[in-house]
Amino acid sequence: MRHAGAEPVPLWHADRDLRGADAVILPGGFSYGDYLRCGAIARFSPVMGELVPAARAGLPLLGICNGFQILCEAHLLPGALTRNAGLRFITRDVRLTVENTRTPWTRGYAGGQELLVPLKSGEGAYAADEATLDELESSGRVVVRYGAAGSGQAAPNGAARGIAGICSEAGNVVGLMPHPEHAIDPLTGPSADGLGFFTSVVEAFAGALR
């Protein structure tokens, strides 16, 4: 967020306090060691008691990797993240295509824009029932998909319909399996393609202020 020009403030899991944040990112990591099921314990953290209603009221919220898993467990997003096809942890730079640019986290991208961003997860395969998948597709809630546009490339982790990220009906809550925060500077990542997620939300607020 600092790279994108915003001031980051840490939120503590045990505090029921969002500290006046304009937007919240639930980062990756291994909350509670991923024991039991990824995100299953973290969704009960006291801070979620504030975050869930705020998100339902429109607060821009981005869940990355473990954050995505928590958002699904908290029912802010539909579906679940399951063990990778092949059952091994995968670290790989993956090509993504942005399909929805109406969310506060993707409004700075062009539709169909390709990104090169690291994926690093063991339980990253998006899964949902067919009706939910159809609904996500028809309502344009698939935010990013693995592979180049129209390539039909299979997701490296076996995600259903190549889904790498989705959003809530209102679009303010986005869950993303790959890690755009590791693609903000070619020095420490494969590209700077991921920075757009963060500048998008900053610009959304800058625009609102004007």
Binding site: G29, F30, Y32, G33, T91, H182, L187, T188
Partner: protein, 750 residues
């Protein structure tokens, strides 16, 4: 029950037989303990001495040799803490200090690969944490039996998943390491884990208990029965033949909880920042026994511990088991009474259980009580210091024959077809093939400061976002070279790690090591160990950089057959500006390729002899440390001046393999013309060599710098195209090269 065996009971029953041999102590050592105490030890004391005097904890067989590694004044300029502390600490400038260390977890990883390897990561991370540093990265040097062997399919995936499970969850990037295969490791794989940590100069912490009245606090996980006797029974004895011992030793392997370790790391760092710790010690091998004896032996006085207060996972544990347990994710701190409340507050924030279990005393004695009786009363230094053995050495009887049988007699590929086939055979061998099957299971991005990671020559981390200061790390070892000549072989491992660090553009400044050898009771193994240490000491002396710490792992053998002597050497470098990092792949089209260094005919112990002829014999290459220094200085200078598009060291498989790797890594071909005998030029393994590609337009400048640094430099070709072309002998399409290189590991391990 060991709890009823108090000091009084022990004094009154001198004749009671004790199971010292089962605990790994010799008759002489048992007698020594009786002499030191003036009575027989209690059951708890016997347990304590058995683990503290184990090879793993006491270094009793290697200590006389390791003294050679003490850095001279010339080497220790940047050293803030050296051998003896948990890990050495090196000044890297701008107020930053770095601590790094490698440790073995070989035997546990054979018995239970996943947990054995996982807890190996956990243990080395706590070592670094105990120095006051934030752990920032890990690496792993792995050696297994033949890649196609049945048991390798059990051990390798388990080890890799264990490292992945623990390191990824802990949030530490895994930035490099090694993977090698050889039949000698079939019954005794090597799993060496390195951790590096960063701190500010004044954050350095010491493992001592000073100040009578200060409280001894145990914090982290509860103590359970896991790993009882791991140090003495598991790590300090030889595995028998096929199958034997595996089941009996399984309970000796610990189980890791990486999330607790993550909490412990953050909790400790917050405790350090608050300035409320007088001394700190990690609990690793020999658990509470080791932490209490080392803290009190290093401090001014004694310590009293109430074992009843140790939080347990299993309430049936007696004092001996409590002392020996190697339950993971535990630390011990010495805290002034006035700070105990604040200490508990920080621990509560991180959901870490903390319990005062004792107090520092001034009486010079380590006493422990349990259920009202005194079960331990010893001078702590006697347990911490342990015996020292100057074991007999013998040059291996087969060494002359081995060296005489060099690979000179084998048919050598002469024409393009044969040379082409040789390169593909090497690239497609498990040792040189693509390691992505392993490394893709590790997160190398987390923490956001990784500039270079495997398969680059060295891992490179950014330390300061504003000044761009960074550190580089590499580990190397070569059991085949060391089998032929442990002195030179160790210097070759040192040379390679030094060179790998230099390739990133960093200046090498310090060395750590993990010495993996067979049984010290075998004079031929002891000779190998002594020679390796002498080689390392002399090598570091020549390079002018210190050995800051290390680890010795002995009894690595199956039955009476020892592994190849395998010192794994880690080198740390400082990078003044990580923006000037140099990748190993050909990144620029049309760049001139320059071969640096001198190529001799070096095939003893080579990858070619191993892969093409399954042969080990002859002499390894002769190390040239002065040439390594000149090469490193040239690369650092050229990198800082922006002259280099890539740099890749030459090692196993020589120039041919290095060219292939630079093409595959950079996704760009090259055309090279050779001078001299093509086979020697392509596959010899002479040290102190590298290939660089020069930024177009800067060729003359680089040539002048090479000359100034007295590094022989030959322009051998140009990058570009879709083939690896060795004109006029052969050309291999990159797609074919990639298939051959990427196929082996997935084909073997799924």
């Amino acid at each position: 029950m060991s709890g009823k065996d108090t000091v009084e009971v022990a004094a009154a029953t001198p004749e009671q037989p004790q199971p010292f041999a089962e605990l790994g102590l010799t008759g002489d050592e048992y007698e020594k303990i009786r002499q030191l105490l003036g009575r027989r030890p209690t059951a708890a004391e016997l347990a304590l001495y058995s683990v503290m005097w184990s090879e793993h904890c006491s270094y009793k067989s290697s200590k006389v040799h390791l003294r050679r590694l003490a850095p001279s004044e010339r080497q220790s300029g940047a050293l803030l803490a050296g051998i003896g502390a948990n890990a050495g600490v090196v000044d890297i400038g701008q107020g930053y200090a770095v601590t790094f260390k490698i440790e073995s977890h070989n035997h546990p990883s054979f018995v239970e690969p996943h947990q054995g390897a996982a807890t190996g990561v956990g243990g080395i991370v706590r070592d670094i944490l105990a120095m006051g540093a934030r752990p920032v990265a890990v690496m792993d040097a792995l050696r297994f039996g033949p890649a196609a062997a049945h048991d390798t399919a059990r051990v390798l995936p388990g080890v890799v998943s264990g490292i992945s499970f623990y390191g990824n969850c802990l949030g530490l990037p895994n930035i490099g390491g090694e993977l090698a295969f050889d039949p000698v490791y079939a019954g005794n794989p090597l799993v060496n884990a390195l951790c590096v940590g960063v701190m500010r100069h004044d954050d350095l912490k010491s493992a001592v208990a000073t100040g009578p009245g200060n409280k001894v606090v145990l914090f982290g996980s509860r103590t359970g029965p896991d790993g009882v006797g791991g140090a003495s029974v598991l790590a300090s004895a030889t595995f028998g033949g096929e199958g034997e011992g595996k089941a009996a030793k399984r309970p000796s392997v610990q189980v890791g909880d990486p999330f607790m370790e993550k909490l412990l790391v953050e909790c400790c760092l917050e405790l350090y920042a608050a300035g409320i710790i007088e001394g700190i010690q990690d609990l690793g091998a020999a658990g509470i026994a080791c932490a209490t004896t080392e803290l009190s032996a290093g401090g001014s006085g004694g310590m009293h511990v109430t074992l009843d207060d140790v939080p347990l996972r299993d309430h049936t544990l007696g004092p001996a088991e409590i002392l020996m347990s190697e339950s993971q994710e535990r630390m011990m701190a010495v805290v002034a009474p006035g700070n105990v409340a604040a200490f508990h507050e920080v621990c509560a924030k991180w959901d870490v259980e903390a319990t005062v279990i004792g107090e520092v005393t001034g009486d010079g004695t380590l006493t422990m009580t349990w259920r009202g009786g005194t079960v331990v009363s010893i001078p702590p230094r006697t347990a911490a210091d342990g015996p020292v053995y100057d074991r007999p050495l013998a040059r291996p009887a087969d060494l002359d024959a081995l060296r005489a049988a060099g690979p000179d007699g084998f048919d050598r590929p002469r024409d393009g077809v044969a040379l082409h086939a040789t390169l593909l055979a090497l690239l497609g061998s498990a040792d040189l093939a693509d390691k992505s099957w392993v490394t893709a299971q590790y997160d190398h991005y987390v923490r956001g400061n990784t500039v270079l990671a495997m398969p680059e020559d060295g891992g490179l981390l950014r330390i300061d976002e504003h000044s761009h200061l960074g550190i580089a790390l590499a580990t190397d070892g070569n059991g085949r070279y060391c089998r032929l000549d442990p002195y030179q072989g160790t210097q070759l491992a040192l040379s390679e790690a030094y060179r790998n660090v230099a390739m990133t553009g960093a200046r090498p400044i310090a060395v750590t090591n993990c010495l993996n050898f067979g049984s010290p009771e075998d004079p031929e193994v002891m000779w190998q160990l002594a020679e390796a240490v002498r080689g390392l000491a002399d090598g570091c002396q020549t390079l002018g950089i210190p050995v800051t710490g290390g680890n010795v792992s002995l009894y690595n053998q199956t039955g009476t057959t020892a592994i190849h002597p395998t010192p794994v050497i880690g080198v740390l470098g400082v990078h003044d500006d990580v923006r000037n990092r140099v990748p190993s792949g050909f990144t620029r089209e049309g760049a001139q390729i320059v071969l640096l260094g001198i190529t001799n005919e070096d095939f003893g112990g080579s990858a070619w002899a191993h892969v093409a002829h399954a042969h080990l014999g002859g002499h390894p290459p002769t190390p040239d440390l002065a040439a390594e220094q000149r090469l490193a200085a040239l690369i650092a200078e050229a990198a800082a001046s922006g002259l280099l598009a890539s740099a890749h060291d030459l090692s196993e498989g020589g120039l041919a393999v290095a060219l292939a790797e630079s093409c595959l890594q950079g996704k760009r071909g090259c055309t090279v013309t050779l001078q001299g005998d093509p086979f020697t030029t392509l596959f010899s393994e002479s040290p102190a060599r590298a290939i660089v590609s020069v930024v177009p337009g800067r060729e003359a400048e680089f040539k002048a710098r090479s000359a100034e640094n007295e590094v022989p430099a030959a322009a051998i070709g140009t990058t570009g195209g879709l083939n690896l072309a060795i004109a006029p002998l052969f050309a291999i399409p990159l797609a074919e090269l990639r298939t051959v290189w990427e196929r082996p590991l997935p084909a073997l391990f799924g």
